[in-house]
Symmetry: C2
């Protein structure tokens, strides 16, 4: 899963057309998967969109499924890194929860295409099932964090921790439905807004 862009610059590109490295092929593939659905996208569709022959495409990725696996791994690794960050590991659970809500939203905004793809996965293949399993583990870790904040007395206990985790990530994930980079809503601001609504609620406390 290493990128061809990691190669020393003195080595001439041997693969694909000039202008296409592995990252760029992946980016365009994810865009196409999101537009017309992964299952409905053929390798021929991908090659056409890229302006490459199928065999040139196969130099970059062994299969359509490898493109999916790499894209899903990028999204999941970035989300998992949020939970592995020291700010999600140390200190009061409610502060850690704030960090997770805010940083997960930042990941979603920064990696909108691959997270969009991840959120549409339904488990139709081993690659998709493995991604769903990693999502489940992520959800369990967030649920444990909510439960810890409840035990520490900082989060209300009249709502089940697993329901809270699902609803908060429901709010975060819904951003893929409408947020567009460069649109009227500032992506940097979204993490703050979601964290504020989730923790403090809409109600004015003036």
């Amino acid at each position: 899963m290493t990128s061809d862009t990691d190669a020393p610059v003195t080595v001439p590109a041997r693969r694909g057309r000039p202008g296409y490295d592995r990252d760029r092929v992946l980016e365009i593939a994810v865009q196409l998967f999101n537009e017309q659905g992964y299952d409905a996208t053929s390798v021929a569709d991908l090659a056409q969109r890229l302006g490459l022959t199928k065999s040139a495409l196969y130099h970059h990725f062994a299969s359509k499924e490898e493109l999916l696996a790499v894209a899903l791994d990028q999204a999941l690794s970035s989300l998992e890194a949020v939970l592995d960050d020291p700010r999600a590991q140390e200190g009061p659970a409610s502060d850690r929860l704030r960090h997770v809500i805010r940083s997960a939203t930042d990941v979603l905004v920064a990696q909108l295409p691959s997270v969009t793809l991840l959120l549409r996965v339904r488990g139709n293949s081993p690659v998709e099932q493995s991604a769903l399993e990693r999502r489940r583990l992520f959800d369990h870790r967030v649920t444990r964090l909510v439960a810890e904040a409840q035990r520490e007395g900082d989060v209300r206990t009249d709502v089940d921790a697993a329901v809270v985790a699902r609803l908060i990530f429901g709010m975060i994930n819904s951003v893929v439905e409408w947020y567009r980079p460069g649109g009227s809503v500032d992506g940097d601001r979204l993490g703050h807004d979601i964290m504020t609504i989730a923790l403090d609620g809409l109600q004015s406390h003036d």
Copy 2:
């Protein structure tokens, strides 16, 4: 769009097989659309699932698109009724917002299949575009309600009203991804939980 079940009971059923009225055909069709996607579902698939011939199916609905139109209209009409209710029309805006959040969640829980179908619509046909337009009008009405509650001083003004409306409905709509009737989470309780988190936040105020 009236239902055959509205017909007087003295009139013998002339259409379809015994046991299938128009509502039941619609229910099974929506289930199949949600399972395998509307575009990927053929009339032959529907007939097979129903155990009907295509022509028997056409006695109930003129086309696959009519099934989609009727299902989307049911979901949208129920959601619009929430905003048309006197509890969403009279009194302080923050109380009306509470009613809308709670009742919209109840609609989603009660009509999970048709709302799930609605939320997956991407605008691939005039029927889908018209459903998206009704969703946009619904969102605008919710945004106006949030803005009114902000003007009345009951909802925080440091988050844009349109962003609030999207995030709150993002949380509500995310329920289709995991809520299942008869599962471990009580559907009657969900509307309360979402309303509580949205308005009061997770933070304990003890």
